[in-house]
């Protein structure tokens, strides 16, 4: 909404942006990053989702219309830019406690103590990249600040990372800055949180946990890199609660999930990075890669039971359907074909399935069998939510040529897939190698579309790593 207004103001016409009452604060902070801190907002009192038609009309006529007129014709106060420090200036000297208090008071920390970002510590991180400190990785909305190698190192220090994690941190920010990922949506109300999946030799070289408790904090690389992600979103992209981060509930950041590549090699199944085409981006398949994607949540699928793929898959298919709810607006509707749920199999389950099936076979099986009644699908689109307007049925979407014919039919109880292509069901292998549990993450569509970057190592990596690990 505000990006529209910024473009229109740039084109020379006045604007008025309609905003529910609870979102005025977010709108004001987002406006700053767009270069127009005084974008004119017209308030819609309360929230429209729970108002009767009469209440909505009364609110619009009583408040919104006056604001629109004022916004388009009245004087808008001008705003001056505030001066920011130079990123390499020392902004404070003090004790550990004093530094931490300063960072908390300025919103630069997540509430946990940070490692003070001194120039000495930052230099240790910079030694693990061949890129210059001022190398610009990209611009990050909503604050519209520059992502640089320098501030990657600063936030890596703060998060408690080790210097040798720096190549992964740079790759992560490159992925964050990729327009395909859509970082600007990271403050939306569903409060989805990014999962970072790591593949490649760095899993073992840096000591990532990829076995029991793979999604729990407790291992320094998994935990501190997960924390780095959220600190970077805060400090550089500008996602702070009560400002640009409007997650109704939100999640704490997730630890990095490393795949069990020994298990994948035994099964001859591709990694997530390979599925995402990491090797096609100019990087050798042996390179490490990160894949980021935003998930609204997930659930464990406990005690998957059976000695064959045929016996195991129905439970996984059921989980895929029962845990996919409003997210299907990204299968059909808001951003058709962008729903990419992630099924994490424990090695025990994966290797039992792999006796007779490839990963692609599993994806095809789930596409054919994990299906939802069409009437329920349509309730998610426009019956129980107002996220996809127009009350277009699945048949309408098929007629428009937007989705495959498999969604069409006359019976409201017909079963339809929850994704538009089998390969959109992502499958990873991690967790306790000797337990029969699995996990399903449900995805947030184009608001965090899966994005992969290979990790570039600095010259002399092995020697530098050996010295760092001493």
């Amino acid at each position: 909404m505000l990006r529209v207004s910024a473009i229109a103001e740039q084109a020379g016409v006045p604007t008025s942006s309609l905003c529910c009452e609870g979102f005025l604060g977010q709108a004001k902070t987002t406006s700053v990053g767009l270069g127009y801190p005084n974008l004119a907002l017209a308030t819609v009192p309360g929230h429209v989702d729970v108002q009767t038609s009469d209440e909505l009309r009364t609110n619009v006529l009583g408040t919104t219309v006056e604001h629109v007129i004022r916004n388009l014709t009245g004087e808008i106060a001008s705003v001056q830019a505030t001066a920011d420090p130079d990123p390499q200036d020392i902004v404070f000297e003090g004790s550990f406690e004093e530094v931490n208090r300063l960072f908390l008071e300025n919103g630069w920390s997540d509430g946990l103590p940070i490692v003070p970002p001194t120039k000495e510590k930052i230099a240790e991180f910079l030694a693990f990249t061949d890129l210059a400190p001022d190398h610009a990785i990209g611009k990050l909305l909503p604050d519209n600040r520059m992502a640089t190698v320098w501030n990657v190192a600063v936030n890596g220090v703060m998060a408690g990372c080790r210097p040798e994690y720096m190549p992964i941190l740079v790759a992560l920010v490159e992925a964050m800055a990729d327009p395909q990922y859509g970082v600007e949506h990271s403050g939306n109300t569903p409060g989805a949180e990014t999962l970072i999946v790591l593949n490649g030799p760095l899993i073992k070289q840096l000591g990532f946990n990829y076995e029991q408790g793979a999604l729990r904090d407790g291992f320094q690389p998994n935990t501190s890199i997960g924390r780095f992600w959220r600190l970077y979103l805060r400090n550089v992209a500008g996602f702070l609660l009560h400002q640009n981060d409007k997650g109704t509930f939100g999640n704490t950041w997730r630890v990095v999930m490393a795949e069990n590549e020994d298990s994948l090699a035994r099964m001859k199944w591709p990694t997530i990075a390979a599925d995402m085409g990491a090797a096609d981006r100019g990087a050798p398949a042996a390179d490490s890669a990160v894949t980021i994607s935003r998930f609204t949540g997930g659930n464990v699928i406990v005690s998957v039971f059976g000695d064959s793929a045929e016996k195991l898959l129905p439970y996984l298919g059921n989980a895929l359907v029962t845990h996919s709810a409003w997210e299907v607006i990204f299968t059909v509707g808001m951003a058709t074909g962008t729903y990419r749920p992630l099924l994490v199999l424990s090695p025990l389950i994966a290797e039992t399935i792999a006796k007779t099936m490839t990963k692609q076979d599993v994806q095809n099986w789930l596409f054919e069998n994990a299906r939802m009644p069409a009437h329920l699908f349509e309730k998610y689109l426009w019956g129980w939510t107002n996220l996809v307007p127009g009350k277009r049925t699945l048949n309408d979407w098929v007629r428009l040529g937007k989705i495959p014919k498999v969604f069409a039919g006359n019976d409201p109880n017909r079963l339809v897939p929850v994704v538009t292509k089998p390969e959109h069901i992502m499958i990873a292998v991690s967790g306790d190698p000797l337990r029969s549990n699995c996990y399903l993450f449900v995805h947030n569509g184009m608001l965090g579309f899966p994005t992969t970057r290979s990790v570039r190592l600095p010259k002399g990596w092995r020697m530098k790593l050996s010295e760092a690990q001493g």
Partner: protein
């Protein structure tokens, strides 16, 4: 920003320069009478109910005002967003748009 000389840690700022300059807003209208107002919508949060109310009320209060509905542009959120936003400056010119109402932030 506070700075002391007696501490153990000399630290830097964890943020970075803004990649955007602060710009002035467009000149506001002298009147809404006779002007063309466009509505751009993200297909969310009842904009399709709010816009007709706004149109009716503005039409009552200002003579000669005309409106361009959201379907002349497409959705500003979702898979059409980049196209719709990219086309907007050209459409503002070609459709002689004087002002834009954009919704919904909810």
């Amino acid at each position: 920003m506070a700075r002391r000389n007696s501490g153990d840690y000399a630290v830097v700022w964890p943020r970075s320069a803004k990649a955007v300059e602060i710009k002035p807003l467009a000149k506001r209208l002298d009147t809404i009478e006779g002007k063309t107002i466009a509505f751009l919508w993200d297909d969310l949060f009842r904009g399709d109910e709010i816009w007709p109310i706004l149109k009716q009320e503005l039409g009552k209060r200002f003579t000669g005002v005309s409106f361009i509905d959201h379907d002349a542009f497409g959705s500003t959120h979702g898979d059409e967003e980049h196209r719709v936003l990219g086309e907007l400056p050209g459409k503002i010119k070609s459709m002689n748009i004087d002002a834009v109402v954009s919704g919904m932030g909810c």
